[in-house]
Structures are given as C-alpha cells and as structure tokens.
Symmetry: C2
Subunit: 299 residues, 2 copies
Amino acid sequence: MRKLPPLNALKSFEVAARHLSFTKAAEELFVTQAAVSHQVKALEDFLELKLFIRRNRSLLLTEEGQEYYLELRDIFEQLAQATDKLRLVSERGALTVSVPPSFAILWFVPRLSSFREEHPDMDIRIKAVDEISGSLTDDVDVAIYYGDGRWPGVKAYQLHEEYLWPVCSPLLLDKANIQEPIDLFKQTLLHDETRNAWKDWFQLVGLPQYKGDNGPVFSHSSLALQAAVHGQGIALANNVLVKSEIDSGHLVRIFPQALQRNKAFYLVCRDNQAEIGKIATFRQWLLGLVQKEEQEFNQ
Amino acid sequence: MRKLPPLNALKSFEVAARHLSFTKAAEELFVTQAAVSHQVKALEDFLELKLFIRRNRSLLLTEEGQEYYLELRDIFEQLAQATDKLRLVSERGALTVSVPPSFAILWFVPRLSSFREEHPDMDIRIKAVDEISGSLTDDVDVAIYYGDGRWPGVKAYQLHEEYLWPVCSPLLLDKANIQEPIDLFKQTLLHDETRNAWKDWFQLVGLPQYKGDNGPVFSHSSLALQAAVHGQGIALANNVLVKSEIDSGHLVRIFPQALQRNKAFYLVCRDNQAEIGKIATFRQWLLGLVQKEEQEFNQ
DNA sequence: TATTTATCATTACTTTAACTAATGTGACTT
DNA sequence: AAGTCACATTAGTTAAAGTAATGATAAATA
C-alpha cells in the first residue's frame, strides 16, 4: 500500500534535528552517537537526499531537512497526544494525581473512599509533591495546585473559597485566657512556610505594630496544625485544611477575623486534556464534592 | 523526553485495524500472520489495554482501539504526504510522468529537450501507459490523461483545443483524386481505437449513411499515423498529435471539416500536490509551452 | 453431531535490524 | 603542532522482528 519511511529512523532524525546534534540526540535516546548516525544515514538513503549538512563542529539542516523536521515534529506530537489520550479514555486503569502534601493528608485522602465507591474501576494514584511548578509531568495526569489560578498551558478549576483562621486546641484556649487578638502577644504562634501570614492577620485586626514572628516554623501546614492539636500554640490555619479538626473538636477557631489571601487550591490539568474520559470523570467528582460540602455548610 | 509507543508495532496495528484481520494485514505487509499477532500484542502490552476483541471468526476493535486507529490513520497519512512532498520539493532528482504512448512519441518526447535546457537539475522519467485509470500510482508524480477533464481526487489542466482531421500522405492525395468527402468511400480508412470516429466525421459532413468501418485498426494512433505517412490510407488524426507531421509535410490535411470530441489531453496531478516544487515547475513549463505554440500558430 | 475450515495465539527458532566499541577524519582551538 | 570535538565508518554483538509449526476455538459445512 503506502510506502512509509523507516519509522525508527524518523525518530532518531526528529531528535537529532531538534538538538542539531547527533551526540545530544543519542543522549536523549539512550543510545550511542553511532546509532543515531546510522539511523539518520538509513533515512537519508531511503529518501535519496541529504537531511543534514555536516560541518566539522556544527550540524545544520538542509532546506528539505528543515521542512521535513517541522512536519515530523507535529506528527510525533500528535502521536504522543493520541497515545496519552488513549490511556485516559478508558475508565479502567489508574489516574495519577499530584497533590501538595498537606492538602493530601488533611483533605484529599480522607475523601478518596467516596471516589472509589462511585468509580470502582478507576484507581487513583496519589503523588505528594512540594513543588507546584513542573509537577504536571509525564507521569502525572492531573494535579492540585495552590496559587492564584493563573498558570500557562493548563486548565485550572478553583475548589474552595479560602481564608486563614487562628486556631488552637480547646485545652489551650481554656487555660490561656485569650479574649482579644492582643492577648495572642503572650502566646506561642505556630508558622508554616506561608510567609507573613501572622503579620497580615495582625494588620487585619488593627495591630500592625506586631510582626508575629515568634514561634516554631513548620515545613508543611499539616505539621503546624498537628502541633496546634497537641496544644503547642496558635496556628493560622486554612479553613479548608482545618475543617475536619474543627468538626471533630480537636481544634477551635478563636476569633472571627479571617485573612483573605487571593490564593486557593485548584484542580489543574493540561489544556487539551480537560474533556477526556478519566480526567473529566475525576473533575466532576471533585468539583461535585466541593459543591456538596459547601451546600451542607451553608444550611 | 516523550515516551512514544513502538512505531513499527503501530504500523502493524493500523493495517490490521484497517482490514479487521491479522491475516490480511500480514499480506499487505508481506509478513506472516504471526508477525502481525506479535506486533499487535507488543503494542497492547505497551499501552496496557486491549485494542482488538478477538472472536473466533471475526476481529473487531475495542472502543479505545477504534479511536486510536482513526487517529493513527490520519497520522500515517500525514507522514506519507510529508514524505512524498519531500521527494518533490527539491529541484534535483527525477520526476516521473506517465504519458499515453502516442502522445509521448508524437508530442511529448520531441519537446522534452526544451525542459532539459530550462531545468538541467531535474530529470524526467517517462512511463508510457495505456490505461488512464490508476496510472497516477505510487511511483508516478504527474500524468497526461486523455478524456473529458473530470477525474476525482486529481487536479487536471487542459493542454490544447483538440479536433480530428482527415489526413494522408501528399503522394496518396496526388494520385487518388480526392475532391469531396464522398470520394473517401473508395479509399482505405485507417483506424485507431477511438471507436466511431470516422462515422462521426461522415455525419459531420452530411454523409450519415456511411459507417466508415473498412480498413485496418491500430492499437495506437501513432501507428495509424505512421501507416498514413507511408501512404497506406487516410487517417482521422488528432490535430495535436499530427501537427509535426503536417509541419514537415509528411502528411496533409485534406478537408477543412474538423470533428470535435469533447476530449483532450490533460496534465494531471494529485489534488494536494499541485503546488509543490517539481510538480509546479513541470506544470509551468508544460502549460507555458502549449500557450507559446498556440500563439505562434495564431500569428 | 462430527468434520472441516478460518482465524488468531503460542512456542521455539532464525533472520534482520539496531546498536556498540573502537577507531578514523577533518576542522576549529589553544 | 597538539588537542579536542563531533560525526563517519567498520566489524562485531545484541535485541527486535519475523518464521514455521502447531494449538485452540468457534463458526460453517456435511
């Protein structure tokens, strides 16, 4: 039927053309430079034309090579996308979600059983990651990001309205005689890595002179909350993350003032994958759950 | 970088999906059924899902397989096109032209030297073919078709206005005393395989009762003209094909009546290749030449 | 119901394609 | 002039693809 060029040679060519170097291409392909040289030569022999101009220290594409490369790049891109998509259209098999650790522990994992009930065929693989940037990598299908909702190349769906509340354990509240914000000056403040949060809160309640920088700093807000549960001080907690500890009575909210931060947790996926099978299923479940919980809260 | 599926396995899959049969796919790929089976299995293993549902006498695609197949088909189509194009963008290397034999001998080949002069880097490979249908095959880039200009999937450019003229050698005309069309009744008529041409011509000149079916039949009009040159009878000749023999005086036109047939020679190429390098170059030369010759004729 | 047939799967083996290691080549660098 | 960098080449190895033979299954046929 069709007489297609040697496909594996095309792959070598595409990579070599992208790097304009056989040596670098070989690294990317985990083969030797000689292998790339062979493959490119085989392709050139098949096509009966030169794709590269070999200068001694530099490699450049011929006109034909340049044109072919651009088309091949698109073709391989399409192939990669079609293949990605394939993995995601079926309801069976796993979906990998990257989640910030605190959100995972305090909110996401406790709610996962509801997903398993609704979608027993679909497994969720959770990957806790600290760095947002670049966490939507090859092996990750969707992610939870914390931020302002503006990230390039992705679709982001906000989950909750979020605030920061001062919280502490009921025991501490009993014995410490905390009536007004100014009473916190004598207390240990617990910090996570969101900088200046306490300072901003004191500003909010009309105490701008206090920096609120005493007390231990935890790498993750879940650790700060854990410390608060154990009566080690007052934490400034995200309403979403702290919800279950408040519901269970392990922590109490000690003032009505809530600090708004223009940041929230977002469900994030690649722009062009938003509507495909598993990803849409997962999004519907997650956004539905958030909505349901907010309705219950407002009743 | 990207983790692409095994490319050769994709090819086997695409063919198998097209035929819905491993056996037929194997035939197309010139391998055994087992080879296709292995390749498809390897692909399914890589993707971790089934592409086919194997029933005992029938093979069908799973939903995922169907979706993947449709995308792959497009991708391979694009690849084939990009590769074809590549061969044709460069001015170097050959362009293969399929030409009906008579047109080749009488018109095309004699004019080829002008092309070589204008485009010394570009070789023309001529393939004389009798059958128009399907002559624009894999190995042929452009073709000359004879017909009404309507063929699906191709671009067709008409070359000349065409008519049929009665012609014979000057010697025969001398000795045979031919004054009016009715005098041809006593002459040997030479036929090529365009059926009913003489009959139609007699109808044109008001002699519908004569079928004009005596005389030898030649498989190609060039042979009929060759017979006419040797004084063996009167031929009904295409004005384009006979031009050089008339110019040289080997044949003379014996009546002014010209039979119109709504058919002509066309330059034909694949729809989507009309504007690429060599093909456009060749078309410009050919159409330009035709136009120049017609201008000279009209002066 | 038994037999044949068509089609894909599987296994053990062979062939071919891809890759490697070592070395060569030519031009720029120092 | 010696060193280095990057691709080419050659000969030999490894891995992928393919084959041949056989097995399994279910539909078609007798």
